[in-house]
């Protein structure tokens, strides 16, 4: 249900697995994040994703549990890649199945918003032979506000 891995993933395969787990699903929402090929410093050729093995998985479990407490979900899959990833590669998948679309949309966006601000991953961008640690964005922290009232 939650994986942290170097290998790429196949959205179609993951959704098919998710569907098998339950017949009552009516709504599937999925998010896929890709490595963007530009930054303010120039063209990005690749990124490298560092993580904190003992903590990252625990952190994702907690985020998913929060989502499951808030919305009636029927299935869920989170995959986050780590290591060296070229531009346009897939980084992250969050797929949520539920009976009705609202729960699936809300839970998927909730998980992404928390993942972006709480899960210990750090991204370094390779640009013109140099590398730069990506700075956290204030908008990611602001995105949490909508879940906190």
């Amino acid at each position: 249900m939650i994986s942290i891995q170097q290998e790429d993933f196949d959205l179609a395969h993951e959704l098919q697995q998710l569907r098998k787990s339950c017949n009552q699903m009516g709504a599937f929402v999925s998010f896929v994040g890709l490595v963007r090929d530009y930054a303010t410093q120039g063209q990005v050729t690749a990124i490298e994703l560092e993580y904190y093995p003992a903590m990252t998985y625990k952190s994702l479990v907690r985020i998913v549990q929060q989502a499951e407490l808030r919305w009636p979900l029927l299935g869920l899959r989170v995959i986050h890649r780590i290591g060296y990833l070229p531009a346009h590669a897939q980084i992250v998948l969050v797929a949520v199945a539920s009976q009705h679309r609202h729960s699936a949309f809300a839970a998927c966006e909730f998980i992404m918003d928390y993942l972006k601000t709480e899960a210990p991953f750090w991204k370094k961008e390779y640009i013109n032979g140099q590398n730069y640690w990506v700075e956290a964005k204030a908008t990611d922290t602001q995105a949490l506000a909508k879940w906190q009232n």
Binding site: G33, L49, E50, Y51, Y52, A54, M55, K58, S59, H80, I91, V92, M112, L115, K116, T117, E118, A119, P120, F121, W122, K123, K124, W133, V134, E135, A136
Partner: protein, 83 residues
């Protein structure tokens, strides 16, 4: 003794990803940061009046007021940027 881990920009700047750190207890995260800052150089730059330093104790995010006890795993890292 505690274990301290450094990640990402901190790890690179300090040239160190982890260390066993002998200390006396009780100890708060703030006190630990002050001790590390006294090493000078990059340690001082990163950990004196720290801004943007996140801390986890035993793999749980916590605050600088948290109390560290013997055998704990303490991790310092910049704001996360995954996803």
């Amino acid at each position: 003794m505690i274990k301290i881990l450094y990640f990402a920009r901190f790890r690179e700047k300090l040239g160190l990803d982890q260390e066993q750190y002998p200390t006396t207890f009780p100890l708060t995260v703030t006190e630990l940061l002050q001790q590390l800052a006294q090493r000078g150089g990059h340690w001082h730059d990163l950990f004196d009046c720290p801004q943007g330093v996140l801390v986890a104790v035993n793999q749980e995010m916590t605050t600088q007021q948290a109390i560290i006890t013997v055998g704990d795993e303490v991790a310092f890292f910049p704001p996360v940027t995954g996803g």
